[in-house]
Symmetry: D2
Subunit: 152 residues, 4 copies
């Protein structure tokens, strides 16, 4: 059996350091445990979509929601694999991929920083479904989304 | 009435130069006329999502599809506003926004370059619906999407 | 100003009695107040999709989620129109329509009866977004959905 | 190997006769071959959603699109299983299910009859993606949709 703490630390490192486009977005992973996680990023000039209003580009929002959905899908799988060894876990991890993503843009993405988290709707043997949301520094809901992930 | 050629040139300039996050993605707008347009971008290291496979980040794909959907929504509106002056057009243009976006990830985003285009399903007074797709340099379908845009 | 109780009673009557396809589904509206509502229906032979497993047809599920989304969209609008008279309310009510709907099928729709409710994500001047869910008599989550509604 | 004609005839029979809710909708399957199929149904009083305008209930539209998506997903799988025997085909057939469905409502569903067909975007080992559309008797596009199906 694998040390869960170490595994979560690896997950955080992959999300933050090993996915090049996440570095462009400047994402950091907060409060990561077996049940929850939160992604945080700061507003920066290059993340702007509308040069007149200065709000987040829709693509930044969908990128973040997709990452949060995928990480939650993985947390759901991990929970079911508590008795597995590292090889089995890695083999399962690399199979995870987004099948589809829906994003609802609720308000202009204005703020100094943004946070995103998710809730697992179902972890299946093959498919997992996660609902995500993105808030700004005023805790206003900027966007919600639903992602379907292949997990086996 | 407005010179359509000039208007399309402005649209291209806004998409390529005035949206900061589009510059991060390295997007260029090709074959833009009143009916069609195509977005083109090259694979680059910072657009990678999976460091082991080297494929496009899902967020890059959704960003591009959203832009293509929004530009097509605007082309549809422009067609209905042929008799309008520039002020009316600008007033309408700045109202356009994405309501929601669905992206279906069909194949890993592998290739030297990618192209994306869209088809308008309906241009309404308030809402337009566009279907988009993304292909790689082998003309393989990498992703499809559907976007709903507020247009009035 | 209009009596809210009467208005809610009218809404219930329209949903249950005046929408022919809802009668086919056998829907009833429960616990309807200004903030919440719940739709209830019993399993019946003609609602079956898979004759071998005896579960709900996917179309029944999406029909119910769409109704619940639309009714919640209307509750959100009503809340913003507290000072309006009946004519203004009716004029607004008949404008409501579904722009798009996403349904995630989580588990086979097995049970003696089912309930569905929703949460408003945002009530805008033109567009509202609602998240819905459907549970069976064991309170298992059968499906979730997200609907976008034109409201003005 | 199985006689394709017989298999398609079985598929038509299942869709029309063995799925109770499809009988409520009054669906018939037309022009079914290995590549294409079309579903047809007539407007009837009990399919109405808006009693004032007399248009199709949104749930009828999503029900039909889901069926068309699922049947297309199956046609895609059948094409890849040309060398298989009937047992293998049946085993695969009963695994098919809708993961999620997106429906875009473009115009009020008015007409004497309606037709629906689909295009397979990708047939994978586990997941297939289909785009569907619904037209009225004037060949106006009433709705489009995208469905994701588990196929293995």
């Amino acid at each position: 059996m694998v040390n869960t703490e170490e595994l979560l630390q690896m997950l955080k490192e992959i999300a933050e350091e090993r996915i090049p486009f996440n570095k462009v977005l400047g994402l950091t992973v907060h409060s990561l445990d077996e049940e929850h996680m939160q992604v945080h990023f700061n507003m920066r000039d290059e993340l702007v979509g509308n040069f007149m209003r200065g709000n987040l580009h829709g693509g930044v929002i969908s990128s973040v929601l997709d990452l949060v959905g995928g990480m939650n899908a993985w947390l759901g799988v991990m929970k079911q694999m508590k008795e597995s060894n590292l090889d089995e876990l890695v083999e399962r991890f690399i199979k995870i991929g987004t099948i589809d993503l829906r994003v609802d843009y609720l308000r202009p993405g204005l703020g100094k920083y943004f946070t995103s988290s998710g809730n697992i709707m179902r972890t299946g043997n093959r498919v997992s479904v996660v609902r995500m949301e993105l808030q700004n520094d005023q805790e206003q809901l900027i966007a919600v989304g639903t992602g379907t992930y292949i997990v086996g």
